[in-house]
Each structure stands twice: as C-alpha cells, then as structure tokens.
Symmetry: C2
Subunit: 146 residues, 2 copies
DNA sequence: TTTCGTTGTAACCATTGACATTACAACTAA
DNA sequence: TTAGTTGTAATGTCAATGGTTACAACGAAA
C-alpha cells in the first residue's frame, strides 16, 4: 500500500504556485510540464483542492489563488482534500467476520482503538507541516543551487 | 488509499491462534471460517508471516506456532511482513519531475524529510502495540460478553 | 464580437493490485 | 494406504491509478 502520487503532486503544485506565481501565470499546462504529467491530471487535482476550499481557479483566464495564508494550510488539509477515503479509515477490514466465532464478532472492538491511534499519529504529524514550510524549504534549496 | 485488509486479517489470525490454539487445531479452513474468506487467502498470508520469521506452519498436519513471545511481536512486525512496499516508502512520487524546472528538480529534497517523519510517526505508533495487547484485549472482551 | 487561451469534464484505455476461487501436487500422521 | 492439510499455480472479477483525446464553457483582450 502506498499513498497515491496525487498527494505529492498537490504539494508540488502549491510549491510552483508560490515560487512562480508572481512571474508566470501558473496554468495546468505549466504545472504538467514541471511535474511531467498530463494537464488533465493536474486539473482533476485542482478540482479536488478547489472542492476542499483550499484554492480558487480562474476559469477561462487561468490562474490559481490560495484562499488562506500559507501557514494556515497544513499537509493534512491537502491529504484530506486529495485522498478519497470514505469514512476516513486508514485500515481496511474484511467485510463480514463470522459472528458465530468469538474472535470474529469481537475483532472490530479489539482493533478499532489501536488502529485509530496509529492513524491519529500519522495525521497529527501531517498537521505539523504547512505550505509555509514548503516556501522556506524551497528558498533554501534554490539558494544552495547557485 | 487504504491499508489492505490483509493486515487486519493477519492480526485476526494471531488472535485466533492465541484464543483457540490450545483447544482446536487452527487450520487455514478454521481461520477462513472465522474471518469469512477463502482458505487460500489465509494460506498466502501465512506464507508471508512465515517468510518474515514470525511463525512456523506445519505442512501436512497443519498447525501454527509463533517463533517469539507474544510481547515480542509488534503490530509493526506484522505490517512489515504483510505490506509489500518496495523500498518501504509510504508516499509515492510522480516518477520523473522536470529537471529543467527549479521546483521539479528539488521536489524530492524538499519533501523527503517531512514525509519520512510522517511515516515514522505512524510506524513508531505501530511498534507500541504487540500481540500481547491482543490477548489481554480479547480476554476482556470475552469476559464482558457473558 | 470574434479570437485565443484556458478550465471543466466526459469518455475512453492500460496497468496494477486486491480479493476470490478451483485445482492439484506435496506432505505428514495415523 | 488414507485422510486431512499446506503450498502454489492459474484464472477471474473488480476497483483504483494514471494517462489520453476531445470538446463545451468560459473570460479577457483584440
């Protein structure tokens, strides 16, 4: 199991918007070139970010605007916008354990709390990072490049 | 993205072995009935657990034995045995970002450390739970049932 | 008003992984 | 030898991922 590349693509998009937004119009074609994928892939991800209320996209003319400060958008916000996990459960169970078996009928009660704490640990760490960290990190990397 | 049900099935298997191992011979058919799936699914998971050195399986006669104490097998050990993530990276990147783009050629350096810390947070929480917690938890649940 | 660049979205397609199922060889103990 | 079990190959179905083409809708500028 791996988290889909859409998540890191979304972070890539935000980094591009912040890095180039003042100089270029950042379109889905521009982003697709930087990420090396198809513009439609980008547009679908932009739609997800828009539906989550993180950005606005100018139809017709093009251009992406954040709806909040960089420091107010965490990795978790992006993750939540991108990953279509219904119910939000990280761990999947087999659908119908046998209720006639003492273990089968108690397996959810046994595991749910523990699995939730694992998921919480991951999500809480995601909340520690914001898009502001991407700006400062990228500035440092570009300064080193020269 | 969700972690496959094979992980929770593996925990279910361990719980059955501990709960019923003294009274019944715990075969792949027995386990399949408790989990409500196909015995071959069980055998494949048992093969993974065996390859990871967590259990031995008696061919021909049937029967599962742990190679370590319950308290010496963590959820992470099971997760690592079950999830075939090559390289062990939780987050997937798009394969070939554009090296001509300043963001494209630095996106890995920008994100790798942060994503690793998120993955570590999850895995460290997984290491806190062991099969001993499954034994004690299941005993409590069964005691409540009466 | 027309043109041009852009977004939104539908309609496909290929590939992969998850889960299931059947079948059968190999094995072990009774 | 027999009965029960494991190991594994071969298939099948389904969903998700990532890609691609096509085109309508839109907005700004000429």
């Amino acid at each position: 199991m791996q988290i889909s590349s859409r998540f890191t693509i979304a972070l890539h998009i935000f980094t591009c918007v912040d890095t180039f937004g003042d100089d270029h119009k950042v379109t889905s074609d521009f982003l697709a070139a930087s990420i090396n994928t198809n513009p439609v892939i980008i547009r679908k991800i932009l739609t997800q970010l828009k539906n989550a209320g993180l950005i606005t996209v100018a139809r017709g003319t093009g251009g992406i605007e954040l709806t909040r400060e960089l420091s107010e958008i965490s990795f978790y916000d992006v993750y939540e916008a991108i990953e279509p996990v219904e119910g939000g459960d990280l761990f999947r169970f087999h659908e119908a354990p046998n209720p006639a078996c003492p273990v089968g009928r108690n397996i959810h009660a046994l595991l749910d709390g523990k699995l939730n704490s694992i998921q919480d640990a991951m999500e809480n760490e995601m909340k520690k990072y914001t898009l502001m960290d991407l700006r400062t990190g990228m500035k440092e990397l570009l300064a080193e490049e020269v």
